[in-house]
């Protein structure tokens, strides 16, 4: 999902940086609040954020004959919301921009918007809609994680289409082409990633259900039922 350094005109780099910065500021603010309110929030942040580090380093081959990587942001979006997740994603993307030449400092804003902001918002939105319905808790986590992953690539495609409209068909036709490159490759990855993150979520529920209840990640009833079930 990285846009490579130099492949986005500076005007668009500026636009996406301007979108990303206030979100990051809000995320840092929320992070301070959550961490000072509950000591057990830090381990949960470590586990969910750690998976962003792990999963976004795995470049996996897919059906289109090209490689892509999962994002791992869904779980963090569910537990902490999209803004804190943006901060976690920004740290990973900065690491990759500085040491791996994946993405770069000028396109970092655009990459934060796709992987750290729009993807997590999509996943978080799915989770918020389903959270208080009778839909199974693990199914909710699965769908949220898959959406967070897919919408990251959806956003990258949109960012590139806006900057590079096709001569014939404009932004729409460019968008379809970039979606073919990014999103299609991503579908099987998103499904596997979401299943793995469901498993991780089950371990968190089993090990430390209290923090999930205190942060109101799911209703106490759902979490207690899941603990009893395990």
């Amino acid at each position: 999902m990285h846009i490579m350094e130099g492949f986005l005109p500076w005007q668009w780099c500026a636009v996406w940086w301007l979108v990303a910065l206030p979100c990051l500021a809000l995320g840092v603010h929320q992070l301070n609040k959550v961490l000072s309110a509950d000591r057990e929030a830090l381990p949960l942040l470590g586990v969910t954020g750690g998976f962003v580090f792990i999963l976004s380093s795995l470049k996996l081959p897919s059906v289109t004959g090209s490689c892509s990587h999962p994002t791992g942001t869904g779980l963090s979006a569910i537990c902490f919301g999209p803004w804190i997740t943006a901060v976690v994603a920004a740290i990973v993307l900065l690491f990759q921009a500085l040491f791996l030449a994946h993405g770069g400092l000028s396109v970092l804003g655009a990459n934060i918007v796709s992987m750290g902001i729009v993807g997590p918002i999509a996943g978080w939105g799915v989770y918020r809609v389903l959270r208080d319905t009778p839909v199974n808790m693990y199914l909710t986590v699965f769908l949220a994680c898959a959406f967070a992953d897919l919408f990251t690539y959806f956003t990258t495609s949109l960012e590139l289409a806006l900057a590079y409209p096709a001569e014939v068909g404009g932004i729409g036709s460019s968008f379809v082409v970039f979606m073919g490159i990014f999103a299609l490759t991503q579908v099987p990855l998103a499904i596997v990633e979401a299943i793995v993150l469901v498993l991780v979520f089950k371990y968190i529920v089993q090990l430390r259900p209290g923090i999930l209840i205190r942060l109101k990640v799911f209703t106490e009833g759902k979490i207690v039922a899941a603990v009893r079930d395990a």
Partner: protein, 103 residues
């Protein structure tokens, strides 16, 4: 009972196996597939749309690049290792905390 208890573990293993199987299948029918990164393919698509050759896109901000694929894959492994250590550290911390509370 066991099957229900470990349903997500089983599902995860099956999903990973299916994913690997899909890879074996696609790489056998797509004989010339190079499995390049979608980032790279996206960039060549940009070059195609604009008509400007890929080499002419220069970084806007100076960028260090790993000198070889080996160095790059090592640094990727480092990224995964950092994540793995953090995850393992806190899962172990929780486990110890639970044990202490039980006593």
């Amino acid at each position: 009972m066991m099957l229900r208890r470990y349903r997500f573990e089983i599902l995860a293993i099956l999903a990973i196996l299916a994913f690997a199987g899909l890879f074996v299948y696609t790489s056998s029918i797509l004989g010339d597939a190079e499995f390049a990164g979608s980032d790279t393919i996206g960039s060549s698509q940009i070059a195609k749309i604009t008509g400007t050759p890929e080499e002419e896109y220069r970084p806007l901000v100076w960028q260090w690049a790993p000198p070889s694929g080996e160095v790059e894959s090592g640094l990727f492994a480092l990224q995964a290792a950092i994540g793995g250590i953090v995850v393992g550290w806190f899962l172990g911390y929780w486990k110890g905390l639970n044990k202490q509370e039980m006593e």
